[in-house]
Subunit: 283 residues, 2 copies
Protein backbone atom coordinates (compact mmCIF):
# COMPACT_ATOMS: atom_id res chain seq x y z
CA UNK A 1 0.00 0.00 0.00
CA UNK A 2 1.08 3.54 -0.62
CA UNK A 3 -0.17 7.10 -0.33
CA UNK A 4 0.57 9.62 -3.05
CA UNK A 5 -0.66 12.66 -1.10
CA UNK A 6 1.88 15.32 -0.09
CA UNK A 7 3.47 15.89 3.29
CA UNK A 8 2.64 19.31 4.75
CA UNK A 9 5.56 21.19 6.29
CA UNK A 10 5.39 24.67 7.81
CA UNK A 11 7.64 27.14 9.56
CA UNK A 12 7.45 30.82 10.45
CA UNK A 13 9.81 31.46 7.54
CA UNK A 14 12.61 29.78 5.70
CA UNK A 15 14.10 27.66 8.45
CA UNK A 16 11.78 24.69 7.95
CA UNK A 17 13.34 24.18 4.54
CA UNK A 18 16.18 22.42 6.38
CA UNK A 19 13.58 19.86 7.48
CA UNK A 20 12.22 19.62 3.92
CA UNK A 21 15.77 19.05 2.66
CA UNK A 22 16.25 16.09 5.01
CA UNK A 23 12.87 14.63 4.01
CA UNK A 24 13.83 14.83 0.31
CA UNK A 25 17.21 13.21 1.07
CA UNK A 26 15.71 10.32 2.98
CA UNK A 27 12.54 9.88 0.88
CA UNK A 28 13.14 11.28 -2.62
CA UNK A 29 9.74 10.04 -3.77
CA UNK A 30 7.79 12.17 -1.28
CA UNK A 31 6.33 15.47 -2.35
CA UNK A 32 5.91 18.34 0.09
CA UNK A 33 3.65 21.35 0.40
CA UNK A 34 5.71 23.88 2.30
CA UNK A 35 4.36 27.02 3.95
CA UNK A 36 6.59 29.81 5.25
CA UNK A 37 4.74 32.66 7.00
CA UNK A 38 7.31 35.17 5.79
CA UNK A 39 4.99 38.16 6.29
CA UNK A 40 5.02 37.59 10.06
CA UNK A 41 8.30 35.78 10.78
CA UNK A 42 10.18 35.39 13.04
CA UNK A 43 7.91 33.87 15.70
CA UNK A 44 10.71 33.24 18.21
CA UNK A 45 10.35 36.48 20.16
CA UNK A 46 6.53 36.55 20.31
CA UNK A 47 4.16 35.65 23.15
CA UNK A 48 2.78 32.12 23.57
CA UNK A 49 -0.70 33.35 22.75
CA UNK A 50 0.38 34.83 19.44
CA UNK A 51 2.49 31.78 18.54
CA UNK A 52 -0.54 29.55 19.16
CA UNK A 53 -2.77 31.72 16.97
CA UNK A 54 -0.27 31.84 14.12
CA UNK A 55 0.57 28.12 14.39
CA UNK A 56 -3.08 27.09 14.20
CA UNK A 57 -3.57 29.31 11.14
CA UNK A 58 -0.54 27.79 9.39
CA UNK A 59 -1.63 24.23 10.16
CA UNK A 60 -5.18 24.87 9.03
CA UNK A 61 -4.04 26.22 5.69
CA UNK A 62 -1.95 23.12 4.97
CA UNK A 63 -4.65 20.65 5.99
CA UNK A 64 -6.86 22.29 3.35
CA UNK A 65 -4.40 20.82 0.80
CA UNK A 66 -5.20 17.22 1.86
CA UNK A 67 -1.79 16.41 3.31
CA UNK A 68 -1.17 12.92 4.67
CA UNK A 69 1.07 14.11 7.51
CA UNK A 70 1.72 17.54 8.98
CA UNK A 71 5.24 18.48 10.10
CA UNK A 72 5.50 21.51 12.38
CA UNK A 73 9.01 22.38 11.22
CA UNK A 74 9.20 25.38 13.51
CA UNK A 75 10.81 24.76 16.88
CA UNK A 76 9.00 27.70 18.42
CA UNK A 77 5.55 26.44 17.40
CA UNK A 78 6.50 22.84 18.23
CA UNK A 79 7.59 23.94 21.70
CA UNK A 80 4.52 26.06 22.41
CA UNK A 81 1.53 24.81 20.43
CA UNK A 82 2.01 21.22 19.19
CA UNK A 83 -0.73 19.67 21.33
CA UNK A 84 -3.16 22.39 20.34
CA UNK A 85 -2.44 21.85 16.65
CA UNK A 86 -2.71 18.07 16.96
CA UNK A 87 -6.08 18.51 18.69
CA UNK A 88 -7.34 20.79 15.96
CA UNK A 89 -6.18 18.54 13.07
CA UNK A 90 -7.63 15.25 14.20
CA UNK A 91 -7.68 13.62 10.75
CA UNK A 92 -3.98 14.12 10.06
CA UNK A 93 -0.99 12.87 12.07
CA UNK A 94 0.97 15.87 13.35
CA UNK A 95 4.63 15.79 14.36
CA UNK A 96 6.91 18.52 15.62
CA UNK A 97 10.67 18.90 15.75
CA UNK A 98 11.11 18.80 19.52
CA UNK A 99 10.49 15.10 20.26
CA UNK A 100 12.76 13.60 17.56
CA UNK A 101 15.78 15.68 18.59
CA UNK A 102 15.08 15.07 22.27
CA UNK A 103 14.90 11.30 21.78
CA UNK A 104 18.23 11.32 19.92
CA UNK A 105 19.87 13.39 22.66
CA UNK A 106 18.54 11.17 25.44
CA UNK A 107 20.01 8.12 23.70
CA UNK A 108 23.36 9.71 22.98
CA UNK A 109 24.39 11.60 26.08
CA UNK A 110 26.90 9.59 28.12
CA UNK A 111 27.19 12.14 30.93
CA UNK A 112 23.42 12.73 31.07
CA UNK A 113 23.81 16.44 30.47
CA UNK A 114 22.29 17.95 27.32
CA UNK A 115 22.41 21.52 26.00
CA UNK A 116 19.57 23.01 23.96
CA UNK A 117 19.90 26.21 21.95
CA UNK A 118 16.96 27.96 20.28
CA UNK A 119 14.83 31.08 20.12
CA UNK A 120 13.70 32.94 23.23
CA UNK A 121 10.18 31.44 23.02
CA UNK A 122 11.47 27.88 22.47
CA UNK A 123 13.75 28.00 25.50
CA UNK A 124 11.21 29.81 27.67
CA UNK A 125 8.55 27.18 26.91
CA UNK A 126 10.77 24.42 28.34
CA UNK A 127 9.41 21.80 25.91
CA UNK A 128 12.85 20.31 25.20
CA UNK A 129 13.51 19.87 28.92
CA UNK A 130 10.18 18.12 29.40
CA UNK A 131 10.69 15.90 26.33
CA UNK A 132 14.26 14.87 27.21
CA UNK A 133 13.38 14.18 30.85
CA UNK A 134 10.36 12.21 29.61
CA UNK A 135 12.85 9.81 28.03
CA UNK A 136 15.22 9.84 31.03
CA UNK A 137 14.34 11.86 34.11
CA UNK A 138 17.96 11.85 35.32
CA UNK A 139 19.24 13.93 32.41
CA UNK A 140 20.04 17.54 33.19
CA UNK A 141 19.10 20.01 30.46
CA UNK A 142 20.80 23.37 29.94
CA UNK A 143 18.82 25.69 27.66
CA UNK A 144 20.13 28.88 26.12
CA UNK A 145 18.27 31.34 23.90
CA UNK A 146 20.42 32.65 21.03
CA UNK A 147 18.36 35.42 19.36
CA UNK A 148 21.23 36.63 17.16
CA UNK A 149 21.72 33.32 15.34
CA UNK A 150 18.67 33.67 13.05
CA UNK A 151 19.60 37.17 11.80
CA UNK A 152 23.24 36.09 11.40
CA UNK A 153 22.15 33.17 9.19
CA UNK A 154 19.77 35.41 7.24
CA UNK A 155 22.67 37.82 6.65
CA UNK A 156 24.63 34.90 5.19
CA UNK A 157 27.40 35.30 7.82
CA UNK A 158 27.72 31.55 8.33
CA UNK A 159 31.47 31.57 8.88
CA UNK A 160 32.34 35.12 9.90
CA UNK A 161 34.15 36.71 12.81
CA UNK A 162 30.91 38.30 14.09
CA UNK A 163 29.25 34.87 14.13
CA UNK A 164 32.19 33.28 15.95
CA UNK A 165 31.96 35.99 18.62
CA UNK A 166 28.23 35.37 18.95
CA UNK A 167 28.75 31.59 19.26
CA UNK A 168 31.31 32.22 22.00
CA UNK A 169 28.96 34.65 23.74
CA UNK A 170 26.00 32.27 23.83
CA UNK A 171 27.67 28.88 24.27
CA UNK A 172 30.40 29.50 26.86
CA UNK A 173 28.04 28.92 29.78
CA UNK A 174 26.39 25.83 28.23
CA UNK A 175 29.82 24.25 27.68
CA UNK A 176 30.92 25.08 31.23
CA UNK A 177 28.03 22.98 32.49
CA UNK A 178 29.72 19.87 31.04
CA UNK A 179 27.20 18.78 28.38
CA UNK A 180 28.30 16.24 25.76
CA UNK A 181 25.35 16.84 23.37
CA UNK A 182 23.81 20.08 22.16
CA UNK A 183 20.50 20.08 20.30
CA UNK A 184 20.25 22.70 17.54
CA UNK A 185 16.69 23.61 18.53
CA UNK A 186 15.99 26.00 15.67
CA UNK A 187 15.75 25.13 12.00
CA UNK A 188 18.12 27.95 11.06
CA UNK A 189 20.96 26.59 13.16
CA UNK A 190 22.08 23.66 10.96
CA UNK A 191 23.59 26.30 8.68
CA UNK A 192 25.84 27.33 11.57
CA UNK A 193 26.81 23.74 12.42
CA UNK A 194 30.39 23.97 11.20
CA UNK A 195 31.09 27.25 13.00
CA UNK A 196 29.49 26.00 16.21
CA UNK A 197 31.34 22.66 16.00
CA UNK A 198 34.68 24.46 15.66
CA UNK A 199 33.94 26.37 18.84
CA UNK A 200 32.59 23.50 20.97
CA UNK A 201 35.17 20.93 19.83
CA UNK A 202 34.71 17.39 18.57
CA UNK A 203 33.87 15.88 21.96
CA UNK A 204 30.51 17.67 21.98
CA UNK A 205 27.93 16.23 19.58
CA UNK A 206 25.62 18.63 17.78
CA UNK A 207 22.21 17.15 17.06
CA UNK A 208 20.30 18.61 14.14
CA UNK A 209 16.59 18.36 14.89
CA UNK A 210 15.80 18.58 11.15
CA UNK A 211 17.60 15.29 10.47
CA UNK A 212 15.93 13.42 13.32
CA UNK A 213 12.53 14.78 12.38
CA UNK A 214 12.91 13.46 8.82
CA UNK A 215 13.73 10.02 10.23
CA UNK A 216 10.59 10.16 12.37
CA UNK A 217 8.52 11.13 9.32
CA UNK A 218 9.85 8.03 7.57
CA UNK A 219 9.05 5.73 10.50
CA UNK A 220 5.50 7.06 10.88
CA UNK A 221 4.65 6.87 7.18
CA UNK A 222 6.12 3.35 7.02
CA UNK A 223 4.08 2.22 10.00
CA UNK A 224 0.92 3.64 8.41
CA UNK A 225 1.72 2.11 4.98
CA UNK A 226 1.68 5.72 3.85
CA UNK A 227 4.95 6.10 1.92
CA UNK A 228 4.73 7.24 -1.69
CA UNK A 229 4.94 4.47 -4.32
CA UNK A 230 7.60 6.25 -6.40
CA UNK A 231 11.21 6.48 -5.29
CA UNK A 232 12.11 9.68 -7.12
CA UNK A 233 10.59 12.91 -8.37
CA UNK A 234 9.04 14.20 -5.14
CA UNK A 235 11.01 17.45 -5.16
CA UNK A 236 9.93 18.54 -8.62
CA UNK A 237 6.27 18.00 -7.72
CA UNK A 238 6.52 19.90 -4.44
CA UNK A 239 5.03 23.34 -3.81
CA UNK A 240 6.44 26.22 -1.81
CA UNK A 241 4.03 28.82 -0.43
CA UNK A 242 4.95 32.08 1.30
CA UNK A 243 2.91 34.94 2.74
CA UNK A 244 5.48 37.52 1.59
CA UNK A 245 8.00 37.42 -1.21
CA UNK A 246 11.11 39.59 -0.99
CA UNK A 247 14.07 39.97 -3.35
CA UNK A 248 16.32 38.35 -0.74
CA UNK A 249 14.08 35.30 -0.43
CA UNK A 250 14.99 33.04 -3.32
CA UNK A 251 18.76 33.03 -2.67
CA UNK A 252 18.24 32.33 0.99
CA UNK A 253 15.72 29.58 0.21
CA UNK A 254 18.24 27.69 -1.89
CA UNK A 255 20.81 28.05 0.90
CA UNK A 256 18.41 26.38 3.32
CA UNK A 257 17.09 23.77 0.92
CA UNK A 258 20.40 22.94 -0.72
CA UNK A 259 18.74 23.19 -4.14
CA UNK A 260 17.05 25.80 -6.30
CA UNK A 261 13.31 26.06 -5.61
CA UNK A 262 11.48 25.61 -8.93
CA UNK A 263 8.73 28.10 -8.11
CA UNK A 264 7.50 30.06 -5.12
CA UNK A 265 3.80 30.89 -4.75
CA UNK A 266 2.67 33.86 -2.71
CA UNK A 267 -0.58 33.51 -0.79
CA UNK A 268 -2.36 36.35 0.97
CA UNK A 269 -2.31 36.74 4.73
CA UNK A 270 -6.09 37.06 4.54
CA UNK A 271 -6.24 33.48 3.27
CA UNK A 272 -4.20 32.41 6.28
CA UNK A 273 -6.13 34.37 8.88
CA UNK A 274 -9.68 33.83 7.65
CA UNK A 275 -12.02 32.72 10.42
CA UNK A 276 -12.80 29.00 10.41
CA UNK A 277 -15.49 27.41 12.50
CA UNK A 278 -13.90 23.95 12.47
CA UNK A 279 -10.82 25.04 14.39
CA UNK A 280 -10.91 25.75 18.13
CA UNK A 281 -9.83 29.16 19.39
CA UNK A 282 -6.14 29.35 20.12
CA UNK A 283 -6.44 30.99 23.52
CA UNK B 1 -5.50 78.61 20.24
CA UNK B 2 -4.55 75.12 21.27
CA UNK B 3 -5.47 71.51 20.58
CA UNK B 4 -5.69 69.00 23.40
CA UNK B 5 -6.01 65.94 21.18
CA UNK B 6 -3.16 63.39 21.20
CA UNK B 7 -0.42 62.91 18.62
CA UNK B 8 -0.52 59.45 17.01
CA UNK B 9 2.84 57.70 16.66
CA UNK B 10 3.37 54.24 15.23
CA UNK B 11 6.20 51.87 14.44
CA UNK B 12 6.50 48.19 13.58
CA UNK B 13 7.66 47.62 17.15
CA UNK B 14 9.53 49.40 19.87
CA UNK B 15 11.83 51.61 17.83
CA UNK B 16 9.38 54.49 17.41
CA UNK B 17 9.55 55.03 21.16
CA UNK B 18 12.80 56.93 20.47
CA UNK B 19 10.67 59.38 18.47
CA UNK B 20 8.10 59.54 21.29
CA UNK B 21 10.92 60.24 23.74
CA UNK B 22 12.11 63.24 21.70
CA UNK B 23 8.54 64.57 21.41
CA UNK B 24 8.08 64.38 25.18
CA UNK B 25 11.45 66.13 25.71
CA UNK B 26 10.61 68.97 23.34
CA UNK B 27 6.88 69.25 24.13
CA UNK B 28 6.22 67.89 27.64
CA UNK B 29 2.59 68.98 27.43
CA UNK B 30 1.77 66.79 24.43
CA UNK B 31 0.15 63.41 24.92
CA UNK B 32 0.78 60.54 22.53
CA UNK B 33 -1.09 57.44 21.45
CA UNK B 34 1.62 55.01 20.45
CA UNK B 35 1.10 51.82 18.45
CA UNK B 36 3.76 49.13 18.09
CA UNK B 37 2.80 46.22 15.81
CA UNK B 38 4.86 43.81 17.90
CA UNK B 39 3.00 40.73 16.62
CA UNK B 40 4.38 41.33 13.11
CA UNK B 41 7.62 43.26 13.62
CA UNK B 42 10.18 43.76 12.21
CA UNK B 43 8.98 45.19 8.90
CA UNK B 44 12.47 45.95 7.57
CA UNK B 45 12.98 42.70 5.66
CA UNK B 46 9.50 42.49 4.11
CA UNK B 47 8.30 43.31 0.60
CA UNK B 48 7.01 46.78 -0.33
CA UNK B 49 3.51 45.41 -0.84
CA UNK B 50 3.38 43.95 2.67
CA UNK B 51 4.89 47.08 4.24
CA UNK B 52 2.20 49.19 2.54
CA UNK B 53 -0.58 46.91 3.78
CA UNK B 54 0.72 46.88 7.36
CA UNK B 55 1.44 50.63 7.38
CA UNK B 56 -2.07 51.50 6.20
CA UNK B 57 -3.55 49.26 8.90
CA UNK B 58 -1.43 50.88 11.62
CA UNK B 59 -2.30 54.41 10.45
CA UNK B 60 -6.01 53.61 10.22
CA UNK B 61 -6.11 52.29 13.75
CA UNK B 62 -4.54 55.47 15.16
CA UNK B 63 -6.79 57.83 13.21
CA UNK B 64 -9.74 56.06 14.88
CA UNK B 65 -8.46 57.65 18.14
CA UNK B 66 -8.95 61.21 16.81
CA UNK B 67 -5.29 62.17 16.71
CA UNK B 68 -4.35 65.70 15.63
CA UNK B 69 -1.18 64.61 13.82
CA UNK B 70 0.11 61.22 12.71
CA UNK B 71 3.82 60.43 12.96
CA UNK B 72 5.01 57.43 10.97
CA UNK B 73 7.89 56.71 13.34
CA UNK B 74 9.02 53.72 11.32
CA UNK B 75 11.74 54.43 8.78
CA UNK B 76 10.73 51.42 6.70
CA UNK B 77 7.10 52.54 6.37
CA UNK B 78 8.14 56.18 5.91
CA UNK B 79 10.47 55.15 3.08
CA UNK B 80 7.95 52.90 1.33
CA UNK B 81 4.40 54.02 2.08
CA UNK B 82 4.25 57.59 3.37
CA UNK B 83 2.43 59.04 0.35
CA UNK B 84 -0.08 56.22 0.41
CA UNK B 85 -0.78 56.78 4.11
CA UNK B 86 -1.08 60.55 3.67
CA UNK B 87 -3.56 59.96 0.83
CA UNK B 88 -5.65 57.64 2.95
CA UNK B 89 -5.70 59.91 6.04
CA UNK B 90 -6.78 63.16 4.41
CA UNK B 91 -8.16 64.75 7.58
CA UNK B 92 -4.94 64.41 9.59
CA UNK B 93 -1.48 65.80 8.80
CA UNK B 94 0.94 62.88 8.36
CA UNK B 95 4.71 63.13 8.76
CA UNK B 96 7.40 60.49 8.44
CA UNK B 97 10.96 60.28 9.72
CA UNK B 98 12.74 60.40 6.35
CA UNK B 99 12.27 64.08 5.39
CA UNK B 100 13.34 65.66 8.73
CA UNK B 101 16.60 63.70 8.90
CA UNK B 102 17.27 64.30 5.21
CA UNK B 103 16.79 68.07 5.56
CA UNK B 104 19.19 68.17 8.51
CA UNK B 105 21.81 66.20 6.58
CA UNK B 106 21.49 68.37 3.46
CA UNK B 107 22.12 71.46 5.60
CA UNK B 108 25.02 70.02 7.51
CA UNK B 109 27.19 68.17 5.04
CA UNK B 110 30.19 70.28 4.03
CA UNK B 111 31.59 67.78 1.55
CA UNK B 112 28.16 67.03 0.04
CA UNK B 113 28.45 63.34 0.80
CA UNK B 114 25.95 61.75 3.17
CA UNK B 115 25.73 58.19 4.47
CA UNK B 116 22.41 56.57 5.36
CA UNK B 117 22.10 53.37 7.38
CA UNK B 118 18.82 51.51 7.88
CA UNK B 119 16.90 48.30 7.28
CA UNK B 120 17.07 46.42 3.99
CA UNK B 121 13.68 47.76 2.89
CA UNK B 122 14.52 51.37 3.83
CA UNK B 123 17.76 51.38 1.86
CA UNK B 124 16.27 49.46 -1.09
CA UNK B 125 13.40 51.97 -1.37
CA UNK B 126 15.87 54.83 -1.92
CA UNK B 127 13.61 57.37 -0.18
CA UNK B 128 16.49 59.00 1.71
CA UNK B 129 18.44 59.48 -1.50
CA UNK B 130 15.45 61.10 -3.20
CA UNK B 131 14.72 63.30 -0.17
CA UNK B 132 18.32 64.50 0.31
CA UNK B 133 18.80 65.17 -3.40
CA UNK B 134 15.46 66.98 -3.37
CA UNK B 135 17.11 69.49 -1.01
CA UNK B 136 20.41 69.57 -2.95
CA UNK B 137 20.80 67.54 -6.11
CA UNK B 138 24.61 67.69 -5.92
CA UNK B 139 24.81 65.66 -2.72
CA UNK B 140 25.99 62.10 -3.11
CA UNK B 141 24.21 59.58 -0.89
CA UNK B 142 25.74 56.30 0.24
CA UNK B 143 23.17 53.88 1.67
CA UNK B 144 23.94 50.73 3.61
CA UNK B 145 21.50 48.20 5.02
CA UNK B 146 22.50 46.96 8.50
CA UNK B 147 20.09 44.11 9.32
CA UNK B 148 21.99 42.99 12.43
CA UNK B 149 21.65 46.30 14.28
CA UNK B 150 17.99 45.82 15.28
CA UNK B 151 18.53 42.36 16.82
CA UNK B 152 21.73 43.58 18.52
CA UNK B 153 19.79 46.43 20.15
CA UNK B 154 16.95 44.09 21.12
CA UNK B 155 19.53 41.78 22.74
CA UNK B 156 20.71 44.77 24.77
CA UNK B 157 24.26 44.51 23.37
CA UNK B 158 24.59 48.26 22.97
CA UNK B 159 28.28 48.40 23.83
CA UNK B 160 29.61 44.90 23.22
CA UNK B 161 32.42 43.39 21.21
CA UNK B 162 29.92 41.69 18.84
CA UNK B 163 28.28 45.04 18.15
CA UNK B 164 31.61 46.77 17.53
CA UNK B 165 32.48 44.08 14.99
CA UNK B 166 29.10 44.55 13.31
CA UNK B 167 29.55 48.34 13.18
CA UNK B 168 32.96 47.84 11.57
CA UNK B 169 31.50 45.32 9.12
CA UNK B 170 28.68 47.59 7.93
CA UNK B 171 30.27 51.05 8.10
CA UNK B 172 33.78 50.56 6.69
CA UNK B 173 32.62 51.04 3.11
CA UNK B 174 30.41 54.07 3.91
CA UNK B 175 33.33 55.77 5.67
CA UNK B 176 35.68 54.99 2.77
CA UNK B 177 33.37 57.00 0.52
CA UNK B 178 34.30 60.15 2.46
CA UNK B 179 30.94 61.13 3.99
CA UNK B 180 30.88 63.71 6.82
CA UNK B 181 27.30 62.98 7.96
CA UNK B 182 25.57 59.67 8.55
CA UNK B 183 21.80 59.50 9.09
CA UNK B 184 20.68 56.89 11.58
CA UNK B 185 17.77 55.82 9.38
CA UNK B 186 16.15 53.39 11.80
CA UNK B 187 14.56 54.23 15.12
CA UNK B 188 16.53 51.49 16.88
CA UNK B 189 19.88 52.99 15.96
CA UNK B 190 19.99 55.95 18.39
CA UNK B 191 20.68 53.36 21.08
CA UNK B 192 23.88 52.44 19.23
CA UNK B 193 24.93 56.05 18.75
CA UNK B 194 27.83 55.98 21.20
CA UNK B 195 29.27 52.74 19.82
CA UNK B 196 28.91 53.95 16.23
CA UNK B 197 30.42 57.37 17.08
CA UNK B 198 33.46 55.69 18.62
CA UNK B 199 34.01 53.77 15.41
CA UNK B 200 33.42 56.59 12.92
CA UNK B 201 35.31 59.26 14.88
CA UNK B 202 34.26 62.76 15.86
CA UNK B 203 34.67 64.26 12.39
CA UNK B 204 31.63 62.34 11.15
CA UNK B 205 28.30 63.67 12.42
CA UNK B 206 25.59 61.16 13.30
CA UNK B 207 22.09 62.49 12.69
CA UNK B 208 19.31 60.95 14.73
CA UNK B 209 16.12 61.03 12.65
CA UNK B 210 14.03 60.77 15.85
CA UNK B 211 15.32 64.12 17.11
CA UNK B 212 14.74 65.95 13.82
CA UNK B 213 11.29 64.45 13.48
CA UNK B 214 10.28 65.76 16.92
CA UNK B 215 11.43 69.23 15.86
CA UNK B 216 9.29 68.98 12.74
CA UNK B 217 6.30 67.90 14.82
CA UNK B 218 6.76 71.04 16.91
CA UNK B 219 7.00 73.32 13.84
CA UNK B 220 3.89 71.83 12.22
CA UNK B 221 1.75 72.00 15.36
CA UNK B 222 2.92 75.55 16.01
CA UNK B 223 2.05 76.63 12.47
CA UNK B 224 -1.40 75.06 12.82
CA UNK B 225 -1.98 76.62 16.28
CA UNK B 226 -2.29 72.99 17.36
CA UNK B 227 0.06 72.74 20.34
CA UNK B 228 -1.43 71.59 23.65
CA UNK B 229 -2.28 74.33 26.12
CA UNK B 230 -0.51 72.66 29.04
CA UNK B 231 3.27 72.60 29.34
CA UNK B 232 3.58 69.39 31.40
CA UNK B 233 1.82 66.09 32.05
CA UNK B 234 1.63 64.75 28.49
CA UNK B 235 3.56 61.60 29.26
CA UNK B 236 1.33 60.46 32.11
CA UNK B 237 -1.76 60.84 29.93
CA UNK B 238 -0.25 58.98 26.98
CA UNK B 239 -1.27 55.48 25.88
CA UNK B 240 0.91 52.68 24.56
CA UNK B 241 -0.74 49.98 22.42
CA UNK B 242 0.90 46.77 21.18
CA UNK B 243 -0.37 43.82 19.13
CA UNK B 244 1.71 41.35 21.15
CA UNK B 245 3.01 41.54 24.68
CA UNK B 246 6.08 39.50 25.63
CA UNK B 247 7.99 39.21 28.91
CA UNK B 248 10.96 40.94 27.28
CA UNK B 249 8.87 43.91 26.18
CA UNK B 250 8.57 46.18 29.17
CA UNK B 251 12.32 46.34 29.93
CA UNK B 252 13.13 47.07 26.31
CA UNK B 253 10.40 49.70 26.11
CA UNK B 254 11.89 51.68 28.98
CA UNK B 255 15.31 51.44 27.31
CA UNK B 256 13.91 53.05 24.16
CA UNK B 257 11.69 55.57 25.90
CA UNK B 258 14.15 56.52 28.63
CA UNK B 259 11.36 56.17 31.20
CA UNK B 260 9.10 53.51 32.62
CA UNK B 261 5.88 53.08 30.61
CA UNK B 262 2.95 53.44 33.04
CA UNK B 263 0.80 50.84 31.28
CA UNK B 264 0.83 48.86 28.07
CA UNK B 265 -2.44 47.88 26.38
CA UNK B 266 -2.61 44.86 24.10
CA UNK B 267 -4.95 45.10 21.12
CA UNK B 268 -5.85 42.20 18.86
CA UNK B 269 -4.40 41.84 15.39
CA UNK B 270 -7.99 41.36 14.19
CA UNK B 271 -8.74 44.91 15.28
CA UNK B 272 -5.79 46.08 13.20
CA UNK B 273 -6.56 44.05 10.10
CA UNK B 274 -10.32 44.42 9.94
CA UNK B 275 -11.52 45.44 6.47
CA UNK B 276 -12.39 49.12 6.14
CA UNK B 277 -14.18 50.57 3.15
CA UNK B 278 -12.87 54.09 3.72
CA UNK B 279 -9.24 53.16 3.08
CA UNK B 280 -7.91 52.48 -0.41
CA UNK B 281 -6.32 49.11 -1.16
CA UNK B 282 -2.60 49.07 -0.46
CA UNK B 283 -1.53 47.38 -3.68
Amino acid sequence: MSDSRPIGVFDSGLGGLTVAREIFRLMPGEKIIYLGDTARCPYGGRSEETIKTFGIQDARLLTDYDVKLLVVACNTVSAVALDLIAASCKDVPVIGVVIPGSRAAARRTAVRKVGVIGTAATIRAGAYTRAIQGFDAAIKVYGKACPLFVPLVEEGLLDHEITRHAVQYYLAEVLDSGVDCIILGCTHYPLLMQTIQEMVGTRTQLLDSALWTAREVFEILKSLNGLAAGKTGGFSESRFLVTDYTPHFKDLASLFLGAEIPSIEQISLEKLTKPCSTVPAAA
